[in-house]
């Protein structure tokens, strides 16, 4: 099966990125062979819909689970509809996330952990 990890870099030694929709990279790993592929996240600078776009991206890549820090409400709904399981981990590397996933110690979550636009670096919505 394929596991996605939100990451700050493109390798197994990269640190986890706690944001889902606005993470820097997705590292998608074949859990059985440990072969992986890294993708830069096109949604980082999106004004809205970053979480749903990211969920669509992972679904298109065939990921069945994702390890990340926080997901917003739209992303949580989209991931659930896509049948992608969400596991929460706050720190460590992509490799740590893979090991923790394999050992079954990660907390599975089934709803949003933060509000909309949480990952926008304090800028929030434009306009006012």
């Amino acid at each position: 099966m394929k596991l996605a990890v939100t990451a700050q870099g493109t390798s197994l030694s990269a640190g986890l990125d706690p944001r889902f929709g606005r993470c820097e990279h997705f590292v998608i790993i074949d859990v059985d062979t440990e072969e992986f592929e890294a993708f830069s996240n096109e949604s980082v600078m999106a004004s809205g819909g970053a979480g749903t776009e990211s969920a669509q991206f992972l679904a298109d890549k065939g990921a069945e689970a994702v390890v990340t820090g926080n997901v917003g409400p739209n992303a949580a709904m989209a991931l659930e509809a896509a049948g992608i399981k969400v596991y929460r981990m706050s720190s460590g590397t992509v490799k740590d996330a893979l090991e923790a996933f394999k050992s079954g110690t990660l907390e599975a979550i089934s709803g949003p952990t933060v509000n909309s636009h949480h990952g926008m670096g304090g800028h929030g919505r434009g306009g006012r």
């Binding site: 999106a46 809205g48 819909g49 970053a50 749903t52 776009e53 969920a55 669509q56 679904a59 739209n74 709904m77 989209a78 509809a81 896509a82 049948g83 919505r125 434009g126 306009g127 006012r128």
Partner: protein, 299 residues
Amino acid sequence: MIVSIASGKGGTGKTTVAVNLALALEGAMPIRFLDCDVEEPNAHLFLHPEIERSEKVSLPVPVVDESKCNGCGKCARVCAFHAILAFSSRTIVLPELCHGCGGCALLCPQGAITESPKVIGEVETGRAGDIRFAHGRTGIGSPLAPPVVKAVREALDKEGLGAGLTIIDAPPGTSCPVVASIKGSDYCVLVTEPTPFGLNDLGLAVGLVRELGIPCGVVINRAGLGDEAVSAYCSREGIPVLLEIPYDRKYAECYAKGGRLVDDFPELRGALKGLWRKISASGESGAEGEDGRREMGEI
């Protein structure tokens, strides 16, 4: 003529200027007042319009017939806002992200997508004395302002206005709701205050109106409060300072009580009439009249 009142920074006095400009000119010409700050309308607190009509504003959002959907994903790929997602198991819609463009329904090769109206706000129209009035309000949980702004802009179109003046009270900032509010204006008054914040956001607003090709002038509210940097900026950029409203506690007290500055302070009635003369003169000298705009000088 359409005159929009905008600002970069919030709380500089847009509504004060817009409302009192309307009141100063009431009776002299047909006036309609459009409060386009649909996320936080407040002109009604000063104009006290009698509301005659209220209409819902809705947006067409997609509904997917799963029995027809084959999961091709064309809808998801065309959606700029990722409001419709196609997964192997099902296609889902996130209505609060949808901007109602209709692209998904148009492209669906299966004819599986229909559109259903989703209420996102309301528009009220009425009359405040001789002033025709309209304002809008986004619904709770509906963050999408531009379609509501558009509905306010169109609310009084049926009535026609002839040679009258339309005054638009725009939201603060420089984002989509502001663009929707001021686009197509003949003139834009930018209200600012003489502070570093005021100057910074004035610069952003000037960039916006220039991009939209709208002639502009500046009203400095709370003049005397801060420094001379706003005046220096305007003179450097060739933007006329149309009016300076002094920083005075008595004006703030009147505003705080929901009062009308032009009724309580005759000097402001005169000043706002002067503001209108400068705006209309600018229109006559042509939008390109950079020199004409400078000639208008300060009050």
